[in-house]
Symmetry: C2
């Protein structure tokens, strides 16, 4: 994408650009999660991050299918949003020494990541349907439901374990 | 917050830091929305952004109340996450010339912002409850519900008007 070159001319271009954005984001998430698994103290949280990593790898496969169904090679574009979310998380995490407060901070960071993904997959599934790509929409919707379920699981972990201990 | 000085020692510190993060984010959103109102073509979308701007101002007032209830002066800290989300939105928007594709791109950006807020207010309301600050929790929950309603309204606008026209 050039600078002010109006490279996004159609809804189809916008759809592909947003696929590339979330593809890059998912790859960044697979790099960030192992560090969080390593630092997590609460076993339920550690396991939650491990599941999330496996799911993210499956979501990347699914995205690659969507690219190909749509006649494109899978490719990422820098996603400033996820870079900002991850960089902020790392900066907050670096300020926390207490293991239980650290768990709460990481859980909150993971939910910010989840919500970014929910918003992008929601948009992509809706655009795919409206562009008549029902096959792509189905796969994108599958990931959307997975992200929503992960977010709910993280909320339950927050309510039942991590935050209570830390408070 | 210093660099690697472990300034966040307790859940209370983490709560205040996250309040400062979303306070900064809300202020950035009030700067970004007028540009989006200006660029929106679809009247329903334009009106949605206008409502969102008024709501954001109310949410800032509510945050200031939460700070004071908690014995702190309202203050922001740079939130790299919202800076990344807004900067990415501006960069995508600058690539689109077609007014209907632009509306779809802005609507998608607004939903990414909403989801960041939903994640932060969800976390803050949960922490406030667990720290025994029920008065703060009530106000934070009120904003959370407002954000969720706005996101749903944006989804409906996407399904019924903007995206269909653009596709």
């Amino acid at each position: 994408m050039g600078l002010f070159t109006h490279d996004i001319k159609s809804m189809d271009d916008l759809f592909v650009h947003t696929l590339q954005d979330i593809y890059y984001a998912e790859k960044q998430i697979t790099k960030a999660l192992p560090k969080m698994i390593d630092k997590a103290s609460d076993p339920q949280l550690k396991q939650g991050f491990q599941t999330h990593l496996r799911e993210t790898e499956g979501q990347i496969d699914r995205l690659e299918q969507v690219f190909r169904m749509h006649g494109h090679e899978p490719k990422g574009v820098t996603c400033e949003a996820i870079d900002g979310i991850i960089s902020e998380a790392e900066s907050v995490i670096s300020e926390v020494a207490d293991p239980q407060v650290l768990d709460a901070a990481m859980l909150s960071a993971a939910q910010a990541v989840e919500h970014y993904e929910i918003s992008r997959y929601g948009t992509l599934a809706s655009w795919a349907r409206q562009l008549g790509h029902d096959d792509c929409a189905r796969l994108l919707h599958e990931t959307l439901e997975e992200e929503r379920a992960t977010d709910e699981k993280l909320s339950r972990t927050a309510e039942t374990a991590v935050n209570r201990k830390a408070a």
